[in-house]
Amino acid sequence: MVKYVGKRIIYMFITMFLIATATFFLMQTLPGSPISSYNKLNDNQKAIVEKKYGIDKPKPVQYAIYMKNLAKGDLGTSFAFKGKSVNDLLASRIKPSFILGAQAMVFGTIIGILLGMIAALKQNTFWDYGSTFFAILGISIPSFVFATLLQYFVASQWHLLPVGLWNDGWKSSILPSIALAMGPLALSARFIRTEMIEVMGSDYITLAKAKGANGFEIAFKHAFRNALIPLITVLGPVAAGLVTGSLVVEQIFAIPGIGEQFVSSIMVNDFATIMGTTLFFSAFLIVVIFIVDILYGVIDPRIRLSGGKA
């Protein structure tokens, strides 16, 4: 187990290093310069700005400085946001993104588990078809389609909730959270259904039945826990989906979160912010997947002793 964790941590660092390097050099090949939005400047002023951001130095030197700062956790200085540090920018925007993500995750997973359980226990009935169809919708319909439709109907037409922005307390978070929740909801509903059906067909469930357990005891005392544990493995895809979704959903609802900032920094070629956000997202997803794997090894007694599943 320790060896496995060690190996995984090394891989994590290699992956992060590669992403950082690739991001850095890809940014250099970008058409347009990070300060092309400063076109009012004359050559002299440009030189001063370039010096200030360190982009007058040769590329390898810039790279070395960047990596050195990165090792210290410093993501550099934003070009577009008037010299603010990328760290500060991210910090100021993490809260809305976090709230939306967490709400979507909790809401989506709970409803998803319920739907999946109903579908599995009432297999091939109206309930099953209904919740399976709902899950298919959630998996198929892109988050931005769902978000725009929610915004149009619930907010614009029926005036039930704010159209956007982050200024109406919890109410502002409802629609974007629901839009984001569709992914986790659908994924967990589907997963729990398949898993429950498989577990319900296993020998130990038959044995539990042979001991006289009733339907409720079988579903909840025996099957549920066994079906729930592997659900941890969908956390990785779910987190990836939430990050992807946050880029569009925050933009659609004008939420001052990290996703919205990422998209706007792409629009203005703000290298440092793009790189910083890329690394932030990557680190987040890599850590989630790492935690999932470790957690899975710890929680499930079947694999706890055999030292991870790899």
Partner: protein, 353 residues
């Protein structure tokens, strides 16, 4: 001897996407109090389905009782409401499955799993149930049970897990214990230990056992009577001696001949030719005839009824009809029959003397 369980004309089908699988096509047998009845037959012959239908463990959506009854304690189990069935399962009738590696819930301690039927069926406190569970574990030979009952299944070996499953099955002193190939998935040495344990238990508590196996070698050791199953039907039933030393059905001959023997100078291992019948379209006559070198014309048209051999011994083969020609069983079988008083090859002077 009182009959504790009677299975009469049982017919059961599965509805699958390919059509109706007639898995049980008329099964009759009685189980007496305190005896061990072995059901033998190739895999796919319907042994598990028969016993699972007694316990009503088959999926209700796809299986259907077509005919017959299963009488237990004055009740027909095929018609009992599910709620009533739950009171019988684990209390009056309990079951052990083939693969101990998959029959225990991996996320529940074994103690909890043994206590479950006790708490379910008997009005006892948790502490009392725990005590019983530990006693059971000791009885089935799990050492250090006081500490180990809190462990999870993966912390035990296959043989130990099967002992735990047996302990669970015995928790409420059932009247009938159904063991579906309880040793098939185990190593030979462990197999012998588990068989020994089952014999011990039967001596200690007066349970009737239905013991399923595809291995005749195991049967001689544990059973009082044997039912031979083929193609969803019982084709021969009798006491152990009758089945082993005076078999009448060609399928039983085949099974006995394919049994590996300790006898070194026996010829090479025999295998019954062909494959079991397709239960989607079962043959209309004797299901075994197509694989038998003793087939008669009538086997193709009419299923044979049971013919009485003795009060305890019946076989469903046209060969026992008075009009049927005398056939010569395989030499190994004749060898066996020579030792059985009452068989047509019995040699009073030779044989066992």
């Amino acid at each position: 001897m009182s009959k504790i369980l009677q299975v009469k004309d049982l017919e059961l089908s599965f509805h699958t996407f390919a059509g109706e699988v007639k898995a049980i096509r008329g099964v009759n047998f009685d189980l007496n109090k305190g005896e061990t009845l072995a059901i033998v037959g190739e895999s796919g012959s319907g042994k598990s389905v028969t016993t699972k239908s007694i316990m009503r463990l088959l999926p209700e959506s796809s299986s259907e009782f077509k005919n017959g009854e299963i009488l237990f304690d004055g009740k027909d189990l095929t018609k009992l409401p599910e709620r009533e069935m739950q009171k019988i399962r684990g209390k009056d009738i309990s079951m052990i499955f083939q693969d101990p590696m998959t029959s225990l819930n991996p996320t529940m301690t074994i103690g909890k799993q043994i206590m479950e039927p006790i708490l379910k069926h008997q009005k006892v406190s948790k502490a009392k149930a725990r005590k019983v569970a530990i006693e059971l574990l000791n009885m089935v030979g799990i050492p250090n049970a006081e500490n180990r009952y809190k462990m999870y299944p993966h912390q035990f070996s296959g043989g130990q897990r099967q002992r735990i499953v047996i302990a669970t099955a015995l928790a409420c002193n059932p009247q009938i214990l159904i063991a579906d190939e309880p040793t098939t998935a185990l190593d030979v040495t462990i197999q012998a230990q588990i068989l020994e344990l089952m014999k011990d238990i039967q001596k200690k508590i007066d349970t009737s056992i239905i013991f399923i196996t595809h291995d005749l070698g195991v049967v001689a050791n544990v059973a009082d009577r044997v039912a031979v199953m083929y193609g969803g039907m019982i084709v021969e039933i009798g006491t152990v001696d009758e089945i082993f030393y005076n078999p009448q059905h060609p399928y039983t001959w085949g099974l006995l001949s394919s049994m590996p023997s300790m006898d070194v100078n026996e010829e090479k291992l025999y295998a019954i030719p062909g494959t079991p019948p397709d239960l989607l379209n079962p043959p209309k006559g004797d299901a075994f005839a197509l694989r038998s070198e003793y087939a008669l014309k009538i086997d193709m048209e009419q299923p044979p009824p049971f013919f009485r051999v003795s009060d305890t011994h019946y076989a469903a083969t046209w060969l026992l009809h008075p009009q049927a020609p005398q056939v010569e069983p395989p030499s190994g079988i004749i060898e066996r029959m020579r030792t059985f008083p009452g068989s047509r090859y019995y040699e009073a002077t030779g044989g066992r003397a």
